[in-house]
Amino acid sequence: MIAMLLVLALDLVLRGSVYDQSGLAVSKALVYVDGTQLSTETGTSGRFELTISPARAGTLVVYRDGFSAVSTKFDPLDPQTFEPVRVVLTPAPLSETVTVRAPRAPAQPPSTFSMRPLDVVRTPGSAADLMRALQTLPGVAQIDEGAGLYVRGGDSSEVLVLLDDAIVFHPYRAEIPGGGLFGSVEPFLLAGASFATGGFSARYGNALSAVLDLHGLARPDAPQTNVTVGLAGASLRLARPLGAHAGLRVSGNRSFPGLPFALNGRPYEFNPLPGGWDLNASAHYDSPSAGRFKAFVNGIGDGVGVHVDSVSFGGLLRSSTISHLAALHWTDVIGRAWLATATVGVTRYARGTTAGVLSLKTTDVRASWRAAVERALGAWTLGLGGDRIDARTHLDGTVPERGGDLGGVSGSTPLDVRYGDVVSGAYVETERRIAAATVTVGARAQQFSLARETAIDPRVNVAVDVASHQKLSFAWGLYRQAPDASYYSHVSNAGLQAMRARHLVAGYEYGSEDGPVHLRAETYWKQYEALPLENAGGLFVSNGYGSAHGVDLFGHMKSRRLDVTADYSWLAAERRWTAVLDRGKFTMLPAGTWRPDFDIPHTAHVMTRFDFTRRLSTSAGWRISSGRLDTPVVGAVSTTAGYVPIYGAINSERLPRYERTDLTVSYLSQLLHSRAVLFASVGNLFARTNFFEYAYSANFSARRPVTSATPRVVYFGVTLTR
């Protein structure tokens, strides 16, 4: 079949439109492929078309005098490359001769990485999942085979996820404690993502550790159909322009889990097999006078039954989820100076989980809005904004009396919690360039209704250009976040305070993300206060605290054919807190702090991509990290209901190191009169046995690692675009 696909060389046609910030078409903008003489200019409608023959990857640059150049990568292997690109030019920075009235692009804070959909797909071992790809960035720890983002000693619940400014309250699908098996946002719905792992701006609130800011695709300029068929599922994406100012995008995914398990074997006992679907649609309207509008809706459903070997339980854990998200996003430049954005979003989410005595139904309706304006004022850039979250959660069912005791040896507790919380925020932020330094100072006021707490959190970012292509950066800030709704099942009358964190980040950077060499070194200190902690009465109080500090190193080098990324993170974290699922697990808490589950001291990744030809590319990834912490069972007490475990010191044992190697191969060709990308991957190439927990015998006298029966996973498929 591959031989049949060895067809003639293909041309790559890049199309797009160029606008200024007010939405007006920019004519005579120079559009070129960086490092070549291949160029064109936009016409009076701002549109361009550039043919690259033969097709190859590169960087497209758009430049018009008076504006800053904008560059974007393209790759014939990336289906998004065939989407018309929409480029918005911003006025060039200040000079003696030019007066800038519109806002400049904000300075990138430290600890921020960008990722495109193609980066996600090309990350070996990511299974084309955004969250799994983000796990390979420095500062992000992986504590199991799930997709949870544990950032710089923080829990996965401490990451704020935004899609076009609307909060994605449930960023994971196939949810398990600590995240989920995959992210809930499909990467090819995105134009890009920005991930800040610390010291983030006052624009973002109700998050302790990190911000994942996702930018959805813009209005389609040309029709496009994209079909992907893989071993485990199929997806369809359609884009259709509607007249000169409107457009529609529709996409859907459906998984077929039977085939990959038939090929690879079943890693665990499933009933039913894990499966899911999602359906997404967005409508776009670019009004010449009223700005740009985008309405987005999606629905996601998944279900799985998996055999689990827990401390006191061996049986099926069944889980099913259905969620819907609707969001409306607007952006415009008002008075040719104020860049304004506004977003409103609503999420409805329902999940049912059963395992042993655990039977829990979670229903969640959450709404959020966000509005912001930004403008340049002389040498300053000023940003103002406000946001609000209205959360309504209902938890209903029974849970183990002791955390982790799914067998119910210590009994179970009925649960019926209705939680309603409103978090409101407003921020102001200014930025200015002073000699070689760019200083950003901001403050965020936040009100937490359930905690009856109002506070103002200052944040500062300083970036200093110390030499050509070299930068030092510093960030400091205070951050708050409302505790998870589940904590409110057991709280005293005093309630819970908003959790608090203080970040201090210092970094050095050489080069840039688009450059041939990019190096980063950062060190950070984080302190936590008001974390939920279970008291002697079994209720949660805000007496917990903790800290994390560490070093993140990152290097990226690329040449025409070879792309290598390597990173290493060192982390030391300690906390005195209680994870919500650990309530009742430990009869007596020790004094002081202990290491949390997500204390992974050493994490390293090496990712390489080599283009054998312009059509055949291969990627390999190697990841290694310290093993996960575990609290051993050191004894058991016999009761009429069974054996009750006696735990040793919390997280006093570390499991063997985690290590895996992944390989991906892709081939660009033509099939059925469409551009075709054939891909194949092998996950955990050397079938290393990694494990993250132990299963115990009924009387806890023996234990065994819970391992996958099929550690190596083979996958292949094809994507067609026309």
């Binding site: 005579k28 120079l30 960086d34 291949l38 430049y63 005098d65 001769t97 030019v98």
Partner: protein, 247 residues
């Protein structure tokens, strides 16, 4: 005859191999940087040929502009005979008029046309100033109107001011703001942009002369050094402008 066929074929292949825009740009830039008349002559001829044979509008525009630019540079190289310079400038003028028929809104073309006309006036010793002067002035004004933030447009306007006698509102001091503005605009322009991408050398070299004219020798030397950073083998800067500072 039969023996000559392979030679002719080889020549044709070699000729067509050189007829790519990328190669022509490399020779235009290399020839201008080294003041190499032979390289420029070949590049101009190939640019004109490419303009004739290419079926792509964009490539034809670039080729016409490139041929005119090469001719303008050639005309200023020491040792090139005045007759050849004049002929080259006339060819450049024709190329630029052809280009402006395709794209009347090209500020680059209007600005280069003004420079070519100015050069023709200088070659004639001012004899055709009445005829060409207003044309050059119109082209310059049109260029500034169309692309006021194009560094090459601003640069060429400033260099014209430099050459304009003080009694007509010109002179080195009047050229300085424009040259500094051009340098600022060059700093904003992507250094690796495709052709036309010339002018950084000229901006620093001419600003150096402005500074030298008012006695700021260290400032002038600094600008000459910046010019040499762009074109390290410029004989004009190394053998003429820098030695002049010592006098």
């Amino acid at each position: 005859m039969i023996r000559s066929i392979p030679v002719m074929m080889a020549f044709a292949v070699a000729a067509s191999a050189n007829l790519t825009w990328t190669d022509i740009v490399a020779r235009l830039e290399g020839g201008a940087a080294a003041s190499d008349a032979a390289v420029l002559r070949g590049a101009i001829a190939d640019a004109d040929r490419l303009a004739d044979v290419t079926g792509l509008d964009r490539e034809r525009e670039l080729a016409l502009n490139g041929a005119a630019y090469g001719a303008w540079r050639l005309s200023a190289i020491p040792g090139v005979k005045p007759a050849e310079s004049l002929k080259a400038l006339q060819g450049a003028e024709k190329d630029l008029h052809d280009l402006l028929k395709i794209d009347p809104r090209s500020g680059e073309a209007h600005a280069l046309l003004a420079s070519v006309l100015g050069q023709r006036i200088r070659f004639s010793g001012g004899g055709n100033k009445r005829e060409l002067g207003p044309q050059a002035q119109d082209a310059r004004e049109q260029a500034l109107k169309l692309e006021p933030n194009n560094p090459r447009v601003v640069l060429q306007n400033a260099v014209t001011l430099y050459h304009t006698p003080a009694e007509y509102g010109g002179g080195p001091d009047k050229a300085e703001p424009g040259l500094r503005q051009a340098i600022a605009l060059f700093e904003r322009e992507p250094a690796g942009r495709p052709w036309p991408n010339w002018g950084r050398f000229d901006a620093h070299a001419w600003l150096g002369q402005v500074l030298a004219a008012r006695g700021d020798k260290s400032g002038a030397r600094g600008e000459y050094d910046k010019a040499l950073a762009v074109w390290p083998n410029s004989g004009w800067v190394k053998n003429v402008l820098i030695p002049a500072l010592a006098r």
